[in-house]
């Protein structure tokens, strides 16, 4: 208890110190939202990697391995799966942001597509990350605090304390502290992951003993399924309706989970970091060596180790491991966990607050809101979001879990509009908007929340969660892509906005690739598809027996699928390096980017329209609420 308090005090002092530094450099509110677009490249690389991987990987992925074994190898490839979208998008998005002086995903979507629907989707996703996705992880941390203090600090009290610390520093320092403190949090979280793996190995008696335990487990026919993927796909009606043979971990389940993970890099959170960077110089290094290399290695090796240890000894889950350690080590590891989760939660809160106030409320309902008041209101909204998260953790954990599981697959649906901006010029505005709409429907219809809501209204769908063992991210993207392709084909003659045309023209000039990169294009396609096929796709079935001897012994001393995952993590780092540098997709770029000056437009007086909108919003909300209540009373069981 005393050590946890001491380390906790150190952490709070550190956050307050950096909040002060951030606030001073912000000039209180002048550069609150984007740190003056001055985050240094290496800080941004650490923040991106830490926010993407650290918290959920050690909390959720290790628990999944501990519970289900190695049936979802995509979890161990998270570093590569998260680096690939970064290589694909970030350089181009940074260039667009710099040219049009944009600082968030909402602004990007509004500039290119002129779609308020996409802005709303981006905002909802940011709120889901801030309140639910991060809330789930903070809730897990609160339970750990309760365990570590022997119940002296209850989970709700711990959740409140953690939220107060988070709220305090985000409100004071804005994006600058999310960046500065985020870099330290990312390092702390990485050290914590290494620490957990080290102590888990000590507890089980070393790497050899760990693998001996796994081998004993795999010799049991009832447990052997935990060491392999259960086929390429299984056409079940979904969890809760029809169980898969063996377990849910098919090869395509892994692929669809990798898709969901890739959603994070298309989220408003990741783009917030990218659009706050000073220069794109370190994008390639960040994605290759930090995200795919260092953090990817931590997940593939250390998270795998922690999970494997709890697979053979269930008492060695994170809470059990912390309880078995000396208090100073337990406190240090916990602070690392806390840092990783708060990094993502802080970024989420700031992004969600900004999106709600600056990109929805201000342009629609209060155009005259000044910069200082915008920041003040955002701070209030961040507080409200933090309170909502704490209340949901305590009062509605099931709903929180359902909402949290929506964040990644919904975010993955933003791939199509982002591809339209950065690579695929034939994706039109109606196609992107309709595609995302259908993608969201696809996700909701295959997620517990959507199924539960439909059931509430009396409509029972004949499938459960993840039909055909495919994650909702894949179902949503299937609908999204199909509709985007169709609508694009029919709307090719529609014109683009002035900003969209400028973005297309500018990217065409700024990103002329070298002849060498053009010559390597077919190679790049081949190796990328081969990696996806073998590392997270259908080829995972080869991993079941790739490293097995004639009498089923493990040739590399560890489970075949784990060895397969480590091999393809190493090959994945090579792939990311090749795409980043050789294909110049994230390579360093040094050029002056003057701000785009749009044609002057007359400013329209909007006070009357804003009043009408407020009135319409209130009336619509009241009518919708009444309709929901009436429908539920009339049709639900």
């Amino acid at each position: 208890m005393i050590w946890l308090s001491l380390y906790g005090l150190f952490y709070i002092a550190m956050t307050l110190y950096w909040a002060r530094v951030g606030a001073r450099e912000n000039g209180d509110f002048e550069t609150y939202f984007s740190a003056g677009h001055a985050l240094s490249p290496w800080v941004s690389a650490l923040v991106l990697a830490g926010a993407s991987l650290s918290g959920w990987a050690i909390l959720d992925a290790s628990a999944e391995v501990g519970h289900s074994g190695f049936g979802f190898p995509a979890l161990l490839q998270a570093g590569i799966a998260l680096a690939l979208p970064g290589v694909l998008f970030f350089k181009r998005i940074w260039l667009v942001g710099q040219r049009l002086r944009l600082s968030s995903q909402s602004e990007l979507l509004r500039s290119y597509y002129g779609s308020e629907f996409l802005v709303c989707v981006s905002t909802v996703i940011a709120v889901l990350f801030a309140v639910a996705f991060a809330g789930l992880q903070l809730s897990a941390l609160s339970r750990l605090v309760e365990g570590l203090t022997g119940g002296a600090v209850s989970a709700p009290v711990a959740a409140t304390l953690l939220a107060v610390v988070l709220f305090g520093y985000v409100v004071i320092g804005g994006m600058r502290i999310v960046g500065y403190l985020g870099a330290i949090q990312a390092v702390l979280a990485a050290a914590s992951v290494v620490g957990f793996a080290g102590f888990a190995l000590i507890a089980v008696g070393g790497f050899g003993a760990l693998n001996a335990g796994l081998a004993t487990l795999s010799a049991d026919p009832l447990q052997a399924g935990r060491f392999m993927v259960s086929g390429v796909i299984q056409f079940t009606t979904g969890a809760g309706r029809e169980a898969a043979a063996g377990h849910e971990g098919t090869a395509l389940a892994s692929l669809s989970i990798a898709f969901a993970l890739m959603g994070f890099q298309a989220s408003p959170l990741a783009l917030k970091v990218i659009l706050s960077m000073r220069t794109p110089r370190a994008l390639a290094a960040g994605q290759t060596w930090v995200m795919a290399g260092a953090y990817g290695g931590l997940v593939a090796l250390c998270v795998g180790t922690v999970g494997a240890a709890s697979l053979i000894r269930p008492d060695l889950g994170l809470s059990g491991l912390l309880a078995s350690l000396s208090p100073w080590f337990a406190a240090w590891l916990f602070i690392g966990l806390l840092a990783g989760v708060q990094l993502m939660a802080g970024l989420g809160l700031l992004t969600a607050g900004e999106a709600l106030v600056r990109h929805l409320y201000k342009p629609w309902f209060h155009g005259r809101l000044g910069r200082r008041d915008t920041v003040t209101l955002t701070r209030v909204v961040i507080g409200l979001l933090a309170i909502a998260s704490v209340l949901m953790q305590a009062l509605t954990p099931v709903t929180l879990s359902m909402l949290g599981s929506l964040a990644l697959p919904l975010s993955f649906q933003l791939w199509t509009p982002l591809l339209g901006i950065t690579w695929l010029r034939w994706i039109t505005r109606p196609a992107a908007v309709t595609g995302v709409g259908f993608g969201i429907a696809g996700v909701l219809l295959t997620e517990p929340l959507g199924i539960a809501v439909l059931s509430f209204f009396g409509l029972d769908v004949p499938w459960g969660r993840a039909p055909w063992t495919l994650h909702s991210a894949a179902w949503g993207m299937a609908a999204n892509l199909a509709v985007t392709l169709l609508v694009s084909a029919f709307t090719q003659r529609r014109g683009f906005s002035e900003e969209a045309q400028e973005i297309r023209r500018f990217l065409g000039i700024a990103l002329r690739t070298s002849a060498r990169a053009r010559a390597l294009r077919s190679t790049a396609w081949s190796v990328s598809l081969a990696w996806l096929f073998l590392a997270v796709g259908p080829g995972l079935v080869f991993g079941n027996g790739a490293f097995l001897g004639p009498d089923r012994q493990w040739l590399v001393g560890m489970p075949s699928l784990w060895g397969w995952s480590l091999l393809f993590w190493a090959l994945g780092v090579g792939l990311v390096w090749f795409l980043s540098y050789k294909m110049e997709m994230a390579s360093p770029l040094s050029m002056d980017i003057p701000a785009y000056a749009p044609h002057p437009k007359l400013r329209v007086h909007q006070d009357a329209q804003e009043r009408d909108r407020v009135r319409a919003l209130v009336v619509t909300s009241a009518v919708a609420f009444a309709l929901i209540v009436l429908t539920a009373l009339g049709f639900s069981r």
Partner: protein, 141 residues
């Protein structure tokens, strides 16, 4: 004169170093004291020394020295821990392993500090860091 941004970046690196290596070293040191294992506590001292070395490397990269705050914190913490060690030794609550661990900790840190001063400022320069010159004599006196 460094612009504010690199100073902030240096601080981020210093914080990260101590948050990881410093606390790991502290944990190992305490573990060694608890288990009466000089080896473990020496590993802890090694962690703390490593943190110092990385701190000095960071200083070198950013072409700066320890800030006054860092110096005060370091010397203050060293003095406080030394006091606790002396009181523990006098009251007889330390085992031989604790005693050796403490000697190694304080000895290595003191030696490391002197080595740092000598290598950075030279023998005469290191002495001058503590030699208070009367203001009336001026720099050239």
């Amino acid at each position: 004169m460094l612009s504010p941004l690199p100073i902030v970046e240096r601080s981020i690196l210093v914080f990260s170093t101590w948050a990881v290596l410093g606390f790991l070293g502290l944990g190992l040191l305490l573990e060694g004291l608890t288990r009466d294992s000089v080896t473990l506590s020496s590993l802890g001292v090694g962690g703390i020394v490593l943190a110092f070395v990385v701190h000095i490397v960071i200083n070198g990269v950013f072409d700066t020295g320890f800030s006054p705050g860092e110096t005060a914190l370091g010397i203050g913490a060293y003095g406080l821990l030394g006091l606790v060690f002396v009181i523990g030794a006098i009251t007889g609550e330390t085992t031989m392993a604790d005693f050796y661990s403490g000697l190694i900790f304080f000895g290595v840190l003191a030696l490391g500090f002197l080595t740092y001063l000598f290598t950075r400022h030279g023998l005469r320069g290191a002495f001058s860091r503590f030699h208070v010159k009367p203001a009336s004599l001026g720099e050239g006196a």
